[in-house]
């Protein structure tokens, strides 16, 4: 083989290695899918049925509503409705904190809080807080709603055909008045699959896994 032939063979080998290497790397990373997929699927009529060892959780997207002059998406979870807004930078949740005094309801906080920062990127951490106070019958009542979130992991799932994001959310609510302080905290871990939505919810009352779903 002359030098020209050897050079051509070398280029063929380099080219083949480059193509095979590129394809193998691409099969492994799924970054295009992660960057372009809808991980929430909050379209009206979509529902997810999740099962734990002893309970069930039905989440259903209802028709668009308007709260505080903003269109929001009601998501009904076993009868309890969360009102969500899908913004460019976050999934926001409607929060209303009330204080009962002498049989009357007094709204201290009514606003939207960042529930999940968008887009989902592994390792991202965020927090948001709503804080307000109200003067009710000669005393100040202060309320606080604090959310701290973190994208814990992003792992490929063959069952769901893509990378699944695991998100941990910590919520702390507190009421503070002259004669009492009450603080309540809750933790939830949620998992989301590309173009499918929620697939797992881990709460103190159980580990719910997706059993059935329907997307419009």
């Amino acid at each position: 083989m002359n030098s020209k032939g050897r050079m051509r063979s070398a280029w063929n080998i380099i080219g083949t290695i480059f193509i095979i290497g590129t394809v193998m790397l691409c099969c492994d990373s799924h970054l295009v899918q992660r960057a372009s997929s809808d991980y929430f699927c909050l379209d009206e009529g979509n529902w997810w049925f999740l099962l734990s060892a002893s309970d069930t959780l039905l989440m259903e997207v209802e028709s668009v509503d308007t709260l505080l002059q903003r269109e929001c998406i009601p998501v009904n979870s076993n009868g309890y409705v969360d009102y969500l807004i899908l913004d460019d930078d976050a999934v926001r949740q409607y929060v209303r904190m009330v204080h009962y005094f002498s049989g009357e309801e007094h709204t201290i906080i009514e606003s939207y809080v960042v529930r999940i920062a968008l887009p989902l990127v592994d390792g991202n951490v965020w927090s948001d807080r709503l804080l307000d106070s109200l003067y009710i019958f000669d005393q100040w009542v202060r309320a606080s709603y604090y959310v701290k979130g973190e994208v814990l992991a992003c792992e490929y799932s063959e069952a769901y055909g893509g990378d699944v994001y695991s998100i941990r959310l910590e919520t702390i609510t507190s009421y503070d008045s002259a004669d009492s302080v009450s603080v309540d905290s809750s933790y939830v871990t949620e998992e989301y699959a590309p173009n499918l939505g929620i697939i797992r919810v881990i709460r103190t009352d159980g580990d719910y896994l997706l059993a059935d779903h329907e997307l419009q």
């Binding site: 590129t22 990373s29 970054l31 992660r34 893509g162």
Partner: protein, 151 residues
Amino acid sequence: MLLWCLLSLSVGLEAGYAIPAMAFTNIQSGPSVQIFVGKKTRIVDLSLSTTAAFYPGDNAAYTLSTYGIQIGLFKTAWRFSPVVELGGQYLTREVTTASEAGYCISYLFGLLLNFRYENLRLYPKFYYEGITDIEQHAGFVGAHMGLVYEF
């Protein structure tokens, strides 16, 4: 041989803008640049290029960047020349302090409009560039302005 290779080469720079056209819904148009060396063969002209593109997100804290190596085929002797490129890209996306990175295959097809002045070649290029990680396809429509010096 080496002298022949160098003399048949051309070097060029392209720059322009690309707009997300397929799959991406949370990023805006962004600048992209390409540096390349070209070589004429009997049938087509070949190029080996490195590219970089930067797309700001709808969320101001989010960015998507791509860096790639591509092999291109085109015909400089024609006024209107189709162009095809194939290669690999390294993608990064960042939001505040968190980031992800990965690889994808990229392919490009488009049209060049060649104008010549002595050893210089100037051209606008209109193209569609697709990227895929096998699971998902996405793409950009773009326009570049290119300047090439042919030895």
